[in-house]
Symmetry: C2
Subunit: 336 residues, 2 copies
């Protein structure tokens, strides 16, 4: 096991359920300095676990373990932190409680303060749902977070993004083997259907037109890409975990808490951190236009679109050019 677990004890969630022995799985890189002022929080994304974040960490990169103490907290529901798949009865499977991004960031804050005694964070950064959590960090702990770099994500799930996820959910749950979440064997038909639905959203029209699945990623045909990359991506995952995180995503809203009472503009306006908001130029579910609205409400934010035709996966770490761009902007942000 290459990660640690912090037992948060009984956690009362926003939606009223109590998660007993709530586990937060995390992995760290580098060393926390004596002043405890070199820590970076880097949350995970939809269905990703900590190892899927590691492409942005390394010697010579912005997130260099020689300089920073990097903490990757696994999102609740992702199979390592408390999830439908690893929670004992009676809160197991489809009874796993509804968890919000607020709940996640609140739990992560406890990890950072209680385990490490950290009072200031030079940076919080994340992709996709990791960006959602990054925005939350900025709004919920404005005096603690010095910089944020949410990329290919949003502070609130847009209505269109919500609809896209309805399609994903409907495809997965259309499989009779899913059985309302009480499946006894993996609902592979639903997982494969979900993967094919996702395939059109994850990469852009330009990506497919330019055959980058073949030329850049090396798949032998479009069908090979759909099976090997997309179905291969979702098949190993637990359906209830995927649906738990999907709920978290659909209900993501930086202002849906007692601090901001649904006032979206106020929540964004409260972020003191210097922010680089980095949408992918061709992301189909986090379009640049949504990021522009966010930046307009933030006092210290700059819009930095990632010039890429890789769609949402501009932030996925599989295209070296995009990775270099994001890494370069993080260096710039950390130096400021």
């Amino acid at each position: 096991m290459d990660y640690e677990i912090y037992d948060l004890g009984s956690v009362v969630l926003q939606n009223g359920a109590t998660m007993r022995n709530c586990k937060l799985a995390y992995k760290t890189f580098g060393t926390l300095n004596a002043a405890k002022d070199n820590a970076i929080v880097y949350p995970t994304w939809y269905s990703g676990q900590h190892e899927a974040n590691e492409w942005l960490i390394g010697p010579g990169m912005a997130l260099d373990p020689a300089n920073y103490f990097i903490i990757i907290p696994n999102m609740l529901g992702n199979g390592l932190s408390s999830s439908p798949s690893n929670t004992p009865e009676p809160y197991n499977g489809p009874r796993f409680p509804k968890v919000t991004a607020y709940d996640n960031v609140h739990a992560q804050h406890r990890l950072v303060t209680e385990v490490f005694g950290i009072a200031t964070l030079p940076l919080v950064v994340g992709w996709s749902m990791g960006a959602l959590q990054t925005f939350h960090w900025g709004a919920l702990y404005p005096d603690m977070v010095q910089r944020i770099a949410p990329f290919c994500g949003s502070a609130k799930c847009s209505r269109h993004n919500f609809v896209f996820l309805e399609g994903v959910k409907a495809a997965l749950t259309a499989d009779v083997a899913f059985a309302g979440g009480w499946y006894t064997s993996k609902p592979t038909t639903g997982l494969r259907a979900m993967a094919r639905v996702y395939a059109g959203w994850g990469f852009s029209q330009d990506f497919y037109r330019e055959n980058l699945d073949l030329t850049a990623l090396g798949y032998s045909s479009l069908e090979d890409f759909l099976v090997a990359f997309w179905e291969g991506f979702f098949l190993p995952k637990d359906a209830n975990n995927l649906l738990a995180m999907l709920w978290t995503w659909q209900n993501g809203d930086i202002s849906a808490n007692e601090v901001y009472s649904g006032d979206y503009a106020k929540a964004l306006g409260a972020i003191k951190a210097k922010a680089y908001v980095m949408p992918g130029q061709t992301d189909l579910y986090f379009p640049v236009a949504d990021s522009e609205i966010e930046v307009a409400h933030m006092p210290n934010a700059t819009l930095v679109p990632v010039p890429s035709i890789w769609g949402h996966f501009a932030g996925g770490g599989i295209n070296p050019v995009d990775t270099a761009f994001i890494d370069g902007k993080l260096k710039e942000l950390l130096a400021s």
Copy 2:
């Protein structure tokens, strides 16, 4: 019954099957003049039947029955022309043969020439898969077709569009009730799942951000829009019909025939008609960039994007502003 049927007899399709007693359902508006030079062909779109085209026809409009003889041929597979749902054994249901856009246009050409004796067409026009057929008309009968106006569609199914449709297909067929097409009752779970997948593609991110489902279309909530509009749209339709047309769409290619032997540029270059190619500015599956490529290959074409945030439905006849724009451009084209 408000339409006519032409029995084409035995039709040998591109893929080798013979469709016996192949039926082409059609409806006409206006009167064919003595010179037989005032006919417009206006093919249908994915899952649409002729009545769903009628919004673009009327007194004072470009397609005015007082001036033109307008023929709406129903696409094969759409439930009125020969389709999985109305073809007798053994070619019924999932055994319905694969039908191409070429097959459709070839059948339509027989209708136009054999039934009506028409030798020239001032215009062929269509939305979406109707645009696909419109492009085919231009390339297959270049000396017969004077003008074409394909809107929100393409001459060839793009790879991204193909992937979007894979998601739609996977959602529909994930329903165990579908039973490989041999369903004994309607696979409603699959049809509803398909509808939710489609919902994110049909309208743009901007459409949903601006709440046009509520303010312009009058639905009471986003969920009401998903159920009443989207599920209500697909539930009445036959699943095998939807899959037959989906195959036609995915395999749409103006050059996939013995005339052009797969030479896409040559097929587009052969279109003599004066063309207005009208993509929706925010269409997610027929992006403007694809239309630009088409126009670049066509000798007599102009790119005329529809300035709309209604996504693909800029061409669906449900937004009066877009309808007025398209109608205005058709008047301009017909006057030239």
